[in-house]
């Protein structure tokens, strides 16, 4: 059997029926394109979140208010009110705590920040001076918040690099200027160095003010959103977690650890939870995309079946001229596979383009995993064979007399 000749014939048939071929191909293009685009989107958002969490350092512990067993997902900041500034002070001063290097507390809430005629809605973080060490923040110009500011409820602010640009424009130094947070005037004392990243708690898009000022004057609350602890080393993380856990239990007058109204998470824990979530998310996206691929395959089967009916006479003629069953099956399968192969190829290109565009829009780093592209491509070729098989079989089983008689 001359496969090359057969491939040329199949290809010619497809070219002669452009509309039909195009429609059949469209299903595959959309299917493969969405598999690749959605997988890439899922993976790049996963990686972006992962990188941000990792950049915070491996010996960081986060204490959040709320029961530890309410599921793995971080609740919204400010959702629970059981953690206070006093808890932070206790961790800092207790003799029982031996493994902690630095502690800081944060109250974070979004607020309207204005400077002159510019304004932005951004995250305002009330923090203690240790925040700079614990969260690894570098100052580009000016200074960070110090103990004096904290004690004096000073109305001073350190701007995240992006906020500084939003409010004062690029190339100007806002230090010494004043901004308004919830209509209260603050003096800018520093600007942070850009860290990159986006979305998930980006330090570039925050305004830092003393915790006391945030609690008492801006937001009027007496709790904190989180306490961050820098352990002395990575090796003492578990010990630190235990020490802090028992201290906070006694602070909150609780005896039973299962009743804890806070949770302590290491970066590993957070990473694990986030990966679980984003993994599910990616799988979900892939599932949706796979459905569209199956729909595409059914589209091919549909069109191939119509083709078989339409070409009954041709099939009968070919059989009369000596085509064996194998030839007819191969010819029709070949057509289906060519459709899915070319459709798959276009789909890959479309998928890659779309994922680049989406990544650009969401300022993520596009992740294109070669295995997922190969998988999608393999699946598309497989789709052609699976969904092309039935029509091809049907064509090859036509009796030549019946087929020739068919008008």
């Amino acid at each position: 059997m001359d496969y090359q000749e057969l491939a040329i014939e199949s290809f010619t048939t497809l070219v002669l029926n452009k509309v039909r071929t195009g429609l059949a191909m469209l299903g595959v293009i959309i299917g493969i394109g969405s598999v690749i685009a959605l997988m890439s989107l899922g993976q790049s958002s996963q990686q972006s979140i992962e990188n941000q969490i990792k950049s915070l350092g491996s010996n960081l512990l986060t204490v959040q208010p709320g029961a530890p067993n309410t599921g793995g997902i971080q609740g919204a900041f400010g959702g629970n009110t059981t953690l206070t500034y006093n808890d932070e002070k206790a961790i800092k001063s207790s003799p029982k705590i031996t493994t902690v290097k630095n502690v800081t507390a944060e109250f974070r809430k979004n607020a309207q920040v204005t400077a002159g005629r510019n304004n932005t809605n951004t995250s305002v973080s009330g923090i203690t001076p240790e925040y700079q060490q614990v969260r690894n923040i570098s100052i580009a110009s000016g200074t960070f918040i110090n103990d004096g500011h904290l004690l004096g409820l000073a109305k001073v602010a350190v701007l995240g690099s992006q906020v500084a640009i939003d409010l004062f424009g690029e190339g100007t130094n806002p230090v010494g200027q004043s901004i308004r947070i919830n209509k209260m005037s603050f003096t800018v004392i520093g600007v942070t160095v850009a860290k990159g990243g986006s979305g998930f708690q980006s330090p570039d898009e925050a305004v830092y003010i003393p915790l006391t000022t945030a609690q008492k004057q801006v937001f009027g609350v007496d709790y904190v959103s989180a306490i961050y602890i820098e352990a002395k080393s990575e090796q003492v993380m578990t010990q630190a977690q235990n020490e802090i856990g028992y201290l906070l239990l006694s602070q909150h007058r609780l005896t039973d650890p299962t009743q804890a109204d806070f949770r302590i998470m290491s970066q590993e824990d957070i990473l694990g939870t986030v990966n679980q979530v984003t993994g599910t998310f990616t799988a979900l996206l892939a599932g949706i995309a796979a459905i569209s691929l199956i729909v595409g395959g059914i589209g091919i089967m549909n069109i191939m079946l119509v083709t078989v009916t339409e070409r009954t006479r041709e099939i009968g003629l070919r059989k009369a001229l000596g085509a064996k069953k194998k030839w007819i099956i191969t010819q029709f399968l070949m057509e289906a596979v060519i459709i899915t192969f070319i459709g798959g190829l276009i789909g890959v290109i479309v998928g890659v383009l779309v994922s680049f565009i989406i990544s650009k829009l969401l300022s993520l780093t596009p992740v294109l995993s070669i295995p997922s592209i190969l998988l999608a491509f393999g699946v598309s070729a497989g789709t052609g064979i699976i969904f092309g098989w039935y029509p091809a079989q049907k064509a090859s089983n036509l009796a030549p007399i019946e087929a020739l008689r068919y008008e």
Binding site: D2, L317, A323, K324, P400, I401, L404
Partner: protein, 249 residues
């Protein structure tokens, strides 16, 4: 002794029938109702004959053609074509017989649409595993033989009915078959062109091709050398055609 054996070989080559049909019946059973399409048919066709099988519709001549063309198998009886027994072959073996031994010419031409004349002629050779170059050369030769040298790259819809049928004849010749089986070859063609087609068949017969023509038109059957009349699934008459039309050249 040696002479005798050679003589016998000669006999085998020249006088063994190209087609031998013996006690052939075809019975269709549909919901317990039996329809006898062919009833105990026996005849021979020798190499180089030009035969018309005639009969009104429903006479069984189409069924006979299907069996002769290896498109169908008989219920009872035997059929030898060029020394091969056809009756009990499976589908793929029949396909092979059709490819190598039978050249079909259909009433409706049955060319592949949107495919050039030369490509159409090359189709059987593709199924016969003949390499492309040889197949192209042969196709060119046969198209020249039917007078279509200047139409090699025309698609069927750019050709007249007569021209399309000539492409079909070239296609039938392409595998150098044992028999050419033409089913109402002039049925769709204007009468002026019909004579042209019949002259091609006459020429092919002169060159030694065995041709079987299925028709219901006496006018067409007159071109042949022998006429077999079929009625109600039986042979009514089988005679040499004495008053056959003379080739006018």
């Amino acid at each position: 002794m040696v002479v005798e054996t050679l003589f016998e070989l000669e006999i085998n080559n020249h006088f063994l029938p190209m087609i031998k049909v013996s006690h052939l019946s075809k019975i269709y059973t549909n919901a317990d109702i039996k329809t006898v399409a062919l009833d105990d048919i026996t005849f021979d066709i020798k190499r180089g004959e030009f035969v018309a099988i005639m009969g009104p519709s429903g006479s069984g001549k189409s069924t006979l053609m299907h069996i002769l063309g290896a498109l169908d198998t008989p219920t009872v009886g035997e059929y030898w074509l060029d020394g091969e027994k056809i009756a009990d072959l499976n589908e793929d073996q029949l396909a092979d017989i059709r490819n190598r031994k039978i050249g079909f010419v259909f009433q409706a031409y049955n060319l592949l649409p949107r495919t050039t004349a030369i490509k159409n002629v090359m189709v059987p050779m593709m199924y016969g595993n003949i390499n492309k170059e040889e197949s192209f050369n042969k196709a060119e030769k046969y198209l020249a033989m039917v007078g279509l040298s200047d139409r090699l790259y025309h698609a069927p819809n750019q050709l007249s009915g007569g021209q399309q049928q000539r492409v079909a004849i070239a296609r039938a010749l392409s595998m150098n078959p044992s028999i050419i089986l033409a089913d109402e070859p002039t049925g769709n063609i204007a009468s002026s062109q019909a004579a042209e087609i019949m002259h091609i068949f006459e020429d092919l017969n002169e060159q030694g091709h065995t041709i079987i023509l299925i028709t219901h038109e006496m006018e067409i059957a007159e071109y042949t050398k022998r006429i077999i009349h079929i009625r109600d699934g039986r042979i009514k008459e089988d005679k040499q055609n004495g008053h056959r039309k003379l080739v006018k050249k």
